[in-house]
Amino acid sequence: MNPRLRWKTRAFAAIVILSNAFGNLSLTWGMRHGAGEITASPLSFIHAVFNPWVSFGIVLLVLWMLSKMFLLSWADLTYVLPVTAFGYVLNAMLGRLFLGEMITPARWAGTLLIMAGVTLVGLGTPHAGESR
C-alpha cells in the first residue's frame, strides 16, 4: 500500500469516526431538548428535524455517510467497519460527558474490548489481499 493511500485512508477513517460521534451527540441532545415526543405520525419526525441541534446532527451524519462511501470505494467493508467502530467508544464517552449517562463497569470493559479489536484490525491494511 503506497503512503498516499495509507494517509488518505486514515484521514477518511478519522472523519467517519468524528462526524458520527458528534452527529449522534447533537441529534440525541436535540431529541431530548425541544424536539417533542416521537410518535407513529410522520409529522412528529418532521417537527423534530427542524430542531437546530437535530438539524446540525443530521448535517454531521450526512458528512459521515458521504465520507464512509468514499472510504468504501477503495477499502474493504471488513476493514472499514471494525476501524470506524472506535466511534462507539467515543459515543459512550460523549454520552457520559455531555448527557450525564451512567457508564457501568461492563460498558467500560466493552470499551476496552472494542479498542483492542480496533487496534488489531488497524495494524493491517484496507485490502485483505495485500501483504502485511
Partner: protein, 121 residues
C-alpha cells in the same frame, strides 16, 4: 420492548444498506477527483445507481428508527447496541461480497462484537 423493536429495525436496515453500498461503490471504483466539479459528476453518476438508492432508503429507515430510539434509551446503549450488525455484516461480506477476511480481521471483529455486547449490558 419498544427499544428492542426499534433496534431490530436499525440492525436489519443497516446490514442491507452497508452491503448494497459496499457492492455499488466497489463497482464504481476508487474515487480520485475531490474537486467540486468532480464531486458533482460523481454524485450525478451515483444517484442513478439503483442499489445505492435502495441503500439510502434503508439508511433513512435506520436513521428514523435511531431518532426514536435515543428518546427512549441511553446514547451509550443505542449506538453500541446498533453495532450488533457488525458480526452479521462481516459474515455476509465474506459470503456475498466475496471479500477476503483473514484471521486478524475475524479476531478484530469478534473483539469488537464482544465489546459491543458488554457495552449494551
Amino acid at each position: 420492548m419498544k427499544a428492542w423493536l426499534l433496534l431490530a429495525v436499525i440492525i436489519t436496515s443497516t446490514v442491507t444498506a452497508d452491503l448494497l453500498q459496499s457492492h455499488e461503490m466497489k463497482q464504481h471504483g476508487e474515487i480520485h477527483d475531490f474537486r467540486p466539479s468532480g464531486l458533482r459528476r460523481l454524485l450525478i453518476t451515483l444517484a442513478r445507481k439503483r442499489n445505492l438508492i435502495l441503500s439510502v432508503v434503508c439508511m433513512a429507515a435506520s436513521f428514523f428508527a435511531f431518532m426514536a430510539l435515543v428518546q427512549v434509551a441511553d446514547l451509550s446503549f443505542a449506538v453500541p447496541a446498533s453495532a450488533g450488525s457488525l458480526v452479521i455484516e462481516t459474515i455476509l461480506a465474506r459470503l456475498i461480497l466475496k471479500e477476503q477476511v483473514n484471521a486478524r480481521r475475524w479476531m478484530g471483529a469478534a473483539l469488537v462484537a464482544g465489546g459491543v455486547w458488554c457495552l449494551s449490558l
